[in-house]
């Protein structure tokens, strides 16, 4: 009996040591600061405690779907033209809200059979082909499975691109993950960052670098640009605004008519480095193209000497240059770049472009001092709460109160150790969860002790009273813990960051309490009973 008891006590001490290790690991020393450092290194603090930026973005996946159907429209055009089949137009009636829907109009009724067979041959894998409005128009709708695959891939790519961009910021422990249930949302958490605008700009930037042939310009305003092409802009051209002062020397804003399809763009650029023009002290971007793009560029520039080309970034013309000689794969852009733009541009060209644009849904920043305040307030409340409870238990239950207090202390150690081992995040509501665990945890002790008192009042001997107390209280303790843990589970599923933290500490705390209030308390009682003389009563 006694040997059994010693084994149990040893087991409890072992548990205590294991979880103390979980909290501190091996601290560098035993001073207050060393211990505090060990704890903060081990227990992962949430953004509301350490300060940082929390962003929720939505990926506009319809754009990726739209890109895909745009490419399909081009292919259909080519296929029909090669087969000499006439049509009046191929459009997407609602490109913004229904990008998966293509309509072919004005086909010749006598050729409809051939049109249909081409469409079926080449596109029926990804699209549902149907005829609409008699024999002279057809619709293609992207299959839902294909559409979902594109959306998922876009989400993946967006996450990877964002991760690359965030890496380049040098954040210590960033978190980038899909968020929400199937809603194309991404969570980004960056501890320690306080300049949220810069971060948002870097993550979201759609800046693509493109070089377009210049049809006409510069014009002082959009109307002048339009009238230069006779008032009607042909579909293969576009009007783009220039920004600030440019190498050509014009002031204010100016407009250009450019060919819509660029010579080289986006991933054709292998790298871009900021530099300075030694003559004019202007910021420049020195770029290199991929081999294949270099060939194309050489091809174009050698055939178009003395024509102009425009460098477009973020939808604005940055520089217009005269093609003086054939350029292969490296060159320099002298333009009106700000320092930020150059840096962002280089970063972006290195990490690649986003597959679709992003929209910020939620954006929270916590300054580090406010975070530290929260820690201080939470810990104070916790200490006060623990002291109040411990003192009360001592006063009300006398000797057994020590039992309850020891169990409570062990409970806290196990809870914090759990947090340390599992790497779960401690948030401010999480600290509240710890405080709540204390209150609810001591409940189990109260249940048991009240029962023991009842048994003693009914005249039972000490050891019988203790045994009966634990036996009767167990089912109620179990029931109450399970119901609260179920609540916490639901909170975990539906809650966001800080609320999840609360659910985690509450669950860990109650689980630990099942162990301490029942097993540990029991062992302490047994140890005490062993030492008592027969006929002596427990102090309760």
């Amino acid at each position: 009996m006694k040997k059994n008891l010693n084994k149990k006590i040893a087991a409890i001490i072992a548990v205590l040591l294991i979880f103390i290790y979980g909290i501190f690991r091996i601290p560098s020393g035993l001073s207050g600061t060393a211990l505090k450092n060990a704890v903060t290194q081990n227990i992962h603090l949430g953004l509301d405690l350490q300060g940082g930026v929390h962003l929720i973005l939505r990926v506009m996946v319809q754009e990726a779907v739209g890109d895909e159907t745009d490419a399909a429209v081009a292919r259909i055009q080519q296929d029909l033209q090669t087969a000499h089949l006439t049509f009046s137009q191929i459009v997407k009636p609602d490109p913004k809200n229904k990008p998966e829907f293509i309509q072919i109009e004005g086909t010749n009724p006598t050729q409809s059979g051939s049109v249909r067979s081409i469409l079926d041959d080449k596109f029926s894998n990804e699209y549902d082909v149907a005829s609409a409005g008699g024999e002279s128009s057809f619709t293609l709708t992207m299959k839902p499975g294909v559409e979902k695959a594109i959306e998922d891939k876009t989400d993946q790519q967006a996450i990877e691109t964002i991760r690359d961009r965030v890496d380049s910021l040098g954040v210590r422990e960033p978190e980038i993950a899909p968020y929400g249930l199937g809603a194309n949302q991404i969570l980004v958490e960056l501890p320690g960052i306080s300049d949220v605008d810069r971060v948002k700009a870097i993550i979201k930037s759609q800046a693509r670098l493109e070089i377009h042939p210049v049809i006409g310009g510069p014009f002082p305003d959009e109307q002048a640009a339009l009238s230069s092409v006779g008032g009607n802009l042909p579909p293969e051209d576009e009007v783009v605004q220039g920004s600030g002062t440019m190498a050509a020397g014009s002031e204010g804003s100016s407009y250009y008519v450019l060919q819509r399809v660029p010579i080289v763009a986006g991933s054709d650029f292998r790298s871009a480095e900021p530099g300075t023009d030694t003559n004019t002290n202007q910021r420049t971007v020195h770029f290199t193209l991929t081999n294949e793009a270099g060939d194309r560029f050489y091809d174009y520039t050698s055939k178009n000497i003395n024509h102009s080309m425009a460098v477009v970034m973020g939808g604005q013309v940055k520089e217009v240059a005269n093609i003086e000689s054939a350029i292969r794969d490296s060159g320099e852009i002298r333009g009106s770049f700000s320092e930020d733009e150059v840096e962002i541009l280089s970063k972006l060209l290195r990490t690649g472009a986003l597959p679709a644009s992003l929209e910020y849904l939620e954006d929270r920043t916590v300054g580090a001092s406010l975070g530290a305040d929260s820690i201080r307030e939470g810990v104070t409340a916790a200490i006060v709460g623990v002291l109040l409870v411990m003192v009360f238990m001592l006063v009300y239950y006398k000797g057994s109160g020590i039992n309850a207090d020891l169990a409570l202390f062990l409970n806290l150690v196990i809870l914090l150790g759990f947090m340390g081992f599992s790497g779960a995040t401690l948030t401010l509501p999480g600290i509240a969860g710890v405080i709540l665990t204390i209150g609810m945890g001591v409940d189990s002790n109260v249940l048991i002790f009240e029962r023991i008192r009842e048994e003693i009042r009914a005249g039972k001997a000490a050891s019988v009273a203790v045994e009966q107390g634990f036996a009767h209280a167990w089912t109620t303790i179990f029931d109450t813990h399970v119901t609260t843990i179920v609540s916490a589970g639901i909170l975990f599923l539906f809650g966001t960051g800080p609320v999840k933290g609360f659910a985690v500490t509450l669950t860990f705390g109650l689980a630990a309490n099942l162990f301490t209030a029942v097993y540990v308390s029991r062992v302490i009682f047994e140890a005490h009973l062993n030492k008592m003389k027969p006929g002596q009563m427990v102090s309760i």
Partner: protein
Amino acid sequence: MELFHNVNVDWLGKKWYFLGFSLIFSTAGIISMAMHYAKIGSPLPLGVDFKGGTQVQVRFENPPDIAQIRKAMDSAGVQGFTVVNIDQAAYHEVLISLPEASSEAANDQGRQQVVTALREHYNNPFNDNGVKVDTVGATVGHQLERQAALATLYSLLGMLVYLWFRFQLIYGVAAVVACFHDTLITVGAFALADREISLTVIAAILTLVGYSMNDTIVVFDRIRENLRLSRREPLPDLVNRSINQTLSRTVLTSGLTFLTVLSLFVFGGQVLRGFSFALVIGILIGTYSSIAVASPMLVAYQEWRARSGKAAVLPAARRSKV
């Protein structure tokens, strides 16, 4: 030391007083919510998590002067803002809220305007480290609202099923009605006190659902045990006895949990104040409801069954040894 030795109160006899008390508070809460709805379009003051928009919290070095802050905002052209003073002895903080803007860029701009206005037009230094900003777009706000409602619903349903499984359906129903009563009164308290509902408040409400359930289970457990031991005692007397037997345990636990939550309310800081307010009220009401709502409901159901000539519903037998 013992507080509740030999208590013998006729709880069920007082059920009409309890009903009156509950009705008064529920009605007060509902009226307050109706008034809020008429005034701001939602039954409760909503935090930025649910209504969207921007909330900026700034910590100044010196106690803030609200009138001057308003002037600073006006001169910087910030529109539609509200300023709340949350100044305490230790920290001098204010909360500035902006309504939801039409676009993301506008949200950013709003935030930047507020910070710049405070920097340039108001003479009270503050550090970037002492700034906290929450911007929530409309989509997310609605999403969070829906999630919070679903979570509460699932919680109550889960409890009902669990209690049905461990006891019997009527116990589950009585307990869920008690929880619903607690939630209604707590939420009503927020309306009456004009406090904002945020995500952490929802977490507190879900916790108190669990807590109220706990409390009710303790009483029901004792009722079930006593029913097994004495089949002849009239139900109201047996329920009274069960409540009296568990009274000291109930009051003690609630008292201790209440102490810890009070500590949180007083010392825990502004961020958690709504959370701790919900728990302070919730714990008191949760304890009350096990005695005043759940137990009378149990007895009333049995008596109704007896009057309609149906057999009494006895709980499932339970093994006494674990």
